[in-house]
Every structure is written in structure tokens, then in C-alpha cells.
């Protein structure tokens, strides 16, 4: 049966709820990525001069603003950190900036793909659990796929934050501000990945014990 075809059952246990939630999320995310790809390709070939290239998360260093970073009032004290996160909306002519566009699009695609893979296998995992097959041999495999996908994506994003940033690296900012790096790295990805891998090993061991118990006469 195609796992993307929704079939609601009357059992609204938590596992079924998560299964449906993941199923809807996969559908929406795949749809969003496809629409974005098609839309941008059409604009590119139509020769649009100014299109939205991407939304890029960056770290901005505000090193010369130390005097305005500490804001004191009578009752409280606010401190703005030296490095702030921001999303940059990058627009421009795609034909003159083709390599930069492809670079950011590729990073964005990798990010979306890793989430889609994690949601898709999470969906299959919750389906098995909902149907009472917690000790299915496939479950540890799904957890390992989810875990390694998120972990490796997170490692890639950490690596990317040390690489030069095309286009936005040369943006003239106010004096004292500079774009430090792109910031795709997400600690949740790494944490989620590690937890999934550990759970994969736990479920694998549980499967072995369950199998042994089943074959004990």
C-alpha cells in the first residue's frame, strides 16, 4: 500500500495521531518544495530580472556596538549579544548570480530533504507501532535512517558555516556590522539525530530479546 495515501482508522491512539500528523507533514513539505522548484524554474526561464533568490539564515556580528548593547532601565537590564541571528531575504537577477542561487538552493533543498526523509520514516515507524508491531525488524532501520540523516545534515551545516558566503558576504552593512557566516546549523537536528540513533540500538536489542522470548518453549 502506498504510505502516502491516507486511510483514517477509528483508533485515535497517540501512535495513530502521530502517524497522521507525520503523513500530513510529509505531504505538505513535498508539495511546498515542488511548488517552489516549479515556480522558480518558470520565473528563471521567463527571464524575470528580479526574483526572490532565497531566505538565508545568517549570523551578524555587531562588534562595534558595545555601547548600545547594554540597555539599562530603572527596573531591568537588557543585553543584546555580540552575534545575532537573522534571516536575509535575497532578491536579484538569477541569471547573473546563477552559481550563488544554485548554492543556496542546494543547501535549502538538502535541509528540506533531510526533514522529509525524517518525517517519512517517522511516519512508517509510527504506523508499525500503531498497528501493534513495535518489535518489527524494520523499526531500528527506520530509526537509524532518521538519526543518521539528521546528524549528517547537522554536521554539513556546521561545516557550511565556516565556508565563504557567496553574494551576501559582500553586502555593505552599517559600519561595525558584518555578516559572520550563514547559519543553517540547528542543534535540534543534531540532538534529534543522536537520540534516534540511540533509540535505534535500544529497539534493536529489544527486538533480539523479544525474538528470543518468542522462541522460548
Amino acid at each position: 500500500m502506498n504510505p502516502l495515501v491516507m486511510k483514517f482508522k477509528e483508533d485515535w491512539s497517540l501512535a495513530y495521531f502521530l502517524y497522521y500528523t507525520f503523513q500530513i507533514s510529509v505531504g505538505l513539505l513535498v508539495g511546498t518544495v515542488l511548488i517552489s522548484l516549479i515556480f522558480n524554474t518558470i520565473l528563471f526561464f521567463k527571464g524575470q530580472q528580479l526574483i526572490m533568490l532565497d531566505e538565508i539564515p545568517v549570523l551578524i556580528q555587531t562588534e562595534y556596538f558595545s555601547e548600545v548593547r547594554d540597555i539599562k532601565t530603572e527596573s531591568f537590564h537588557v543585553m543584546i549579544p555580540e552575534t545575532v541571528k537573522a534571516n536575509m531575504h535575497l532578491s536579484g537577477n538569477p541569471k547573473t548570480n546563477i552559481w550563488s542561487v544554485l548554492y543556496y538552493r542546494l543547501i535549502s533543498l538538502i535541509r528540506h530533504l533531510s526533514v522529509i526523509i525524517a518525517l517519512f520514516f517517522g511516519m512508517k515507524l509510527f504506523k508499525n507501532i500503531a498497528e501493534g508491531e513495535s518489535f518489527n525488524r524494520q523499526n531500528p532501520k527506520y530509526l537509524f535512517i532518521i538519526g543518521w540523516t539528521l546528524f549528517l545534515t547537522s554536521c554539513l551545516f556546521i561545516l557550511l558555516s565556516y565556508l565563504p558566503t557567496p553574494l551576501i558576504g559582500s553586502v555593505p552593512l552599517e559600519n561595525g556590522m558584518r555578516i559572520k557566516s550563514i547559519y543553517f546549523s540547528d542543534n535540534n537536528f543534531m540532538l534529534g539525530g543522536i537520540i534516534s540513533i540511540v533509540f535505534g540500538y535500544v529497539i534493536k536489542e529489544a527486538n533480539r530479546i523479544h525474538e528470543e522470548q518468542k522462541l522460548t518453549v
Binding site: 525474538e211 528470543e212 522462541l215 522460548t216 518453549v217
Partner: protein, 68 residues
């Protein structure tokens, strides 16, 4: 190294069927089949005791150790 289960040999010697043994011992047919075909990973002392009692044999008659 393997433990070989000679349940079929002992059953043949006693001229008893697996169904009859299942009824006497109170172990399901599927579990006895697992034991007979050598797929079992472990056997409980209580099951071994019941089988030995029903077949009037020793555990050594049912189980055999092989080097290969």
C-alpha cells in the same frame, strides 16, 4: 556448536504423536513444532520436566550436543 533436539526420535520410540504430547504436556502444537524443528532458542525447565514426565525419559534423551 549446536544443541540438537531429538524429540521426534523419542516420540517415535514411544509411538506418540505430537498432538497427544501437546495435550498431555499442555504446550501448544506450534511451540512443540518450534522445539521439534530445532528453531527454539531456549527451553524452560518446567517444559522440559513436563515433556520428560510425559515421555518417561531423561533430558539427555531429548537433547544432544554437537560440535559442528
Amino acid at each position: 556448536m549446536a544443541i540438537i533436539v531429538n524429540l521426534d526420535v523419542v516420540l517415535a520410540k514411544r509411538k506418540m504423536s505430537l498432538t497427544e504430547l501437546s495435550e498431555r504436556v499442555g504446550v501448544t502444537m506450534s511451540n512443540l513444532s518450534i522445539l521439534k524443528t530445532g528453531k527454539a532458542k531456549a527451553i524452560r525447565f518446567s517444559t522440559l520436566e513436563a515433556i520428560c514426565e510425559a515421555l518417561d525419559c531423561q533430558p539427555g534423551d531429548l537433547l544432544e550436543f554437537s560440535e559442528d
